[in-house]
């Protein structure tokens, strides 16, 4: 496959053909994880800088494992006690990191647009691992990959994104990815957690969870940031759980065999019923392993295209 991108900033930059190519490749990379020796020399001598300026456990570990399975070296920046905390601006941090000559920088940052900003400043590849409310392309790709393995085809499928859409980079990226692949996307949440101009988005909006679940093929529950209540957007977490917590009675209205997803970390008992998260229809742990395969694929595409370009 021809990979021409310097950076991965958002799903919107990918064509549906590219996304499907990524899924095909990811199936091969996923196989590596099942071997007794989970390592190939593909990216030997490459270095990947993990620049996570916002707390992250699973995404950072996932990139780390993905790089190491391909024999790339990874370097992490500690967020606490770092120059960032001392007030260094993002441009200087970025240039400093580049001077260390990594082949790719994976960035997670609380400010929307920070990955784009860094990509403009730097010559090396920048992979967005989540910027503010804006985008989380590798999450959307792993969500898509999890379902691709089951469905093969997205046309005729309906995905429900449940919860805080307004402040969610996962929701934005998922909407972009699944609509690109031809699936229908529904949203459900209180209006206070939906963008004001949601009517202009290519989605169907529901305020009632039962209605929203009727006939869907998968539900992705989004994490409710507990500070939304303090910000005056919700009366209480209990009321949120009552109205928008996914329970088995909702899944009974979905298409038989419908899948349950969550990008993690979960608030069990708030956005998702605990038993449901552990049920056979739950893809939550598969999302995690799919994440490694997707990130291996992306690192492979970025780091080998660089060497091809320089040859």
């Amino acid at each position: 496959m021809e990979w021409t991108h310097k950076d991965l900033l958002s799903v919107t930059q990918l064509t549906s053909a590219e996304i499907l190519d990524i899924f095909h490749l990811a199936q091969n990379f996923e196989e590596i994880g099942t071997r007794p020796i989970k390592k190939t020399p593909t990216l030997k001598g490459k270095s990947v800088l993990l620049f996570f300026a916002e707390p992250s456990t699973r995404t950072k570990t996932s990139f780390d494992i993905a790089a190491k399975r391909l024999s790339a070296d990874t370097f992490s920046l500690a967020t606490s006690g770092s120059s960032l905390e001392k007030g260094e601006d993002l441009r200087d941090t970025g240039l400093t990191l580049q001077a260390m000559q990594p082949d790719a920088i994976v960035i997670r940052h609380s400010q929307s647009g920070s990955a784009d900003f860094l990509a403009q400043q730097l010559q090396c590849s920048v992979i967005n691992a989540g910027d503010g409310w804006h985008a989380h392309p590798t999450q959307a790709l792993l969500d898509g990959f999890s379902l691709y393995k089951l469905w093969g085809e997205f046309r005729g499928r309906t995905l429900l994104l449940l919860g805080d859409i307004a402040h969610s980079r996962v929701a934005r990226s998922d909407i972009a990815l699944f609509t690109k692949l031809g699936a229908s996307v529904r949203l459900c949440g209180p209006r206070t957690l939906l963008p004001r101009y949601i009517a202009d988005w290519p989605v169907k909006v529901y305020s009632d969870l039962e209605e929203a679940c009727r006939g869907v093929d998968a539900v992705q529950c989004l994490r409710l940031q507990l500070e939304r209540q303090q910000a005056g957007l919700l009366p209480s977490l209990r009321e949120y759980a009552t109205r928008f917590g996914l329970r088995s009675k909702h899944m009974e209205l979905a298409r038989p065999g419908a899948k349950i997803m969550h990008p993690g970390p979960m608030n069990r008992g708030i956005e998702i019923d605990s038993d449901l998260a552990d049920s056979p229809e739950s893809l939550i742990l598969d999302q995690v392993s799919s994440g490694i395969a997707i990130r291996m694929t992306l690192l492979y595409l970025f780091l080998t295209s660089i060497s091809r370009r320089s040859e």
Binding site: P190, R191, T192, R196, S207, Q229, G232, L233, L234, P235, S236, R238, E239, T242, R243
Partner: protein
């Protein structure tokens, strides 16, 4: 077995009719073709709906309680009333709502039906949203911070958005508290003459403008409580022409009385928003006729006598309205300010539409909620004749034209008064 009853020779919008009731429903309203009104017939009206009262229970039962409030409502011709959330404790959770509904069902099983309004913010503090879903599930038909204006426009936005999903209207008490911190009377010649701190009319209309802009921007409904000023009316008129989903209410006292009433420092005339000018009255009368203001409410705000027997500035705000509303409105009909048709729209059909209640349009099958009004039966509200525990009204000891004779809800009499000479 549904009993069939005929209420003979009553006047429905100028026409003598027999009203036929079957069980709890209207069977037919049959015009009696051959006769003209003798002027002595009773006037037939659908049961009134008052979407803005304060019943003080729980917490301030010395002013009123649910039983005395509903008794006053029954005598005033009401079949459905709402009560605001500024009780002690505040009605901001299902436990208080349920207690109100259980109390009402226990003391007035036939009605008038009580429809609590839930608090918009927790504790009416204007900081966090109240448990609106829980309140709606428990039976609240609207949300309001009535009595404590919401100065935080961000919170107001979130409340309007959240309740729009629940399809429960938000009622805003329009007042900018920073413009009226200590005010007790309309800011104008009267306040200056009396040396009382004034409330500028813009204290209301600025908040009206804010709410209209919020409703317009968010495309969600808002209902504006007790509108009392010309500028507010003009703003609502503008918004309705633009298609903004707004509805509004005013009270009989704003259609009848002006700040002149306060000339003698009478605390019974102290109300929030304060009585306005003659020009405000003119604007409001036109607004209710034309439907710019959708409905009438009493804003029934009973207080104990001792609380009002105090210097003007110290007295609590509020007018007791359930006993007298219909008689006061009849005086507006006599003065050709309103028609009987207007009364039906302002007190029955529009409030039912806005708040999702059933009204009686006198079509077969409609709920038999109706009242008989005797325009010839002048009466004087006094400490003895009023049913509300709150006797605080400017028309205390003033004669009013006409009075309710019978009030029925779902075919059952809630109140009836038939003097000897009439039988």
């Amino acid at each position: 077995m549904n009993s069939r009853r005929i209420i003979p020779r009553v006047v429905w919008q100028g026409q003598v009719c027999d009203c036929i009731v079957e069980g709890d429903k209207i069977a037919e309203l049959r015009p009696v073709g051959d006769t003209e009104t003798s002027g002595k017939e009773l006037v037939l009206l659908p049961g009134l709906i008052d979407c803005h009262t304060h019943l003080r229970e729980p917490g301030q039962e010395h002013k009123e309680d649910i039983n005395s409030g509903l008794t006053a409502a029954a005598s005033g011709g009401f079949s459905n009333i709402s009560c605001m959330a500024n009780t002690v404790p505040v009605n901001d959770n299902a436990a208080v709502t349920s207690m109100m509904l259980q109390t009402a069902a226990a003391c007035k099983p036939e009605g008038p039906a009580l429809h609590p309004v839930g608090a918009l913010s927790r504790g009416l503090a204007g900081k966090e949203l109240a448990f609106m879903y829980e309140l709606a599930q428990a039976g609240c038909i609207a949300f309001s911070n009535d009595g404590v204006p919401v100065s935080d426009s961000g919170l107001m936005r979130r409340a309007m958005e959240y309740s729009a999903d629940l399809q429960v209207p938000v009622i805003d008490h329009c007042e900018d508290p920073d413009l009226s911190p200590e005010g007790v009377i309309n800011e104008g010649l009267m306040s200056e003459r009396l040396g009382l701190q004034g409330v500028p009319s813009i204290s209301e209309s600025i908040q009206v403008a804010r709410d209209l802009l919020l409703a317009s921007y968010l495309e969600v409904p808002v209902h504006l409580a007790h509108i009392s000023r010309r500028e507010s009316v003009e703003l609502i008129h503008w918004a309705k022409n633009k298609g903004v989903p707004v509805s509004a209410e005013t009270c009989p006292h704003y259609l009848l009385w002006t700040e002149e009433e306060v000339a003698g420092y009478d605390p019974l005339c102290k109300v929030n928003p304060p009585l306005g000018t003659a020009d405000d009255v003119t604007a409001l009368r036109q607004a209710v006729r034309e439907g710019v203001i959708d409905i009438l409410v009493t804003d029934h705000a009973p207080h104990a006598q001792f609380e009002k027997e105090t210097p003007f500035s110290r007295a609590p705000n509020g007018i007791s309205g359930l006993d007298t509303a219909m008689s006061l409105c009849w005086s507006l009909v006599e003065d050709d300010v309103l028609t009987q048709k207007d009364l039906v729209r302002l007190w029955c059909s529009r409030p039912a539409q806005i708040f999702g209640l059933r009204d009686n349009g006198f079509q077969p099958g409609d709920p038999a909620d109706f009242l008989l009004f005797d325009p010839g039966d002048a009466w004087t509200p006094t400490l003895e004749t009023m049913f509300s525990r709150g006797k605080n009204t400017p028309c205390l000891n003033r004669e009013l034209p006409g009075r309710i004779r019978l009030n029925c809800r779902r075919g059952k009499a809630l109140y009836g008064r038939f003097p000897q000479e009439n039988s």
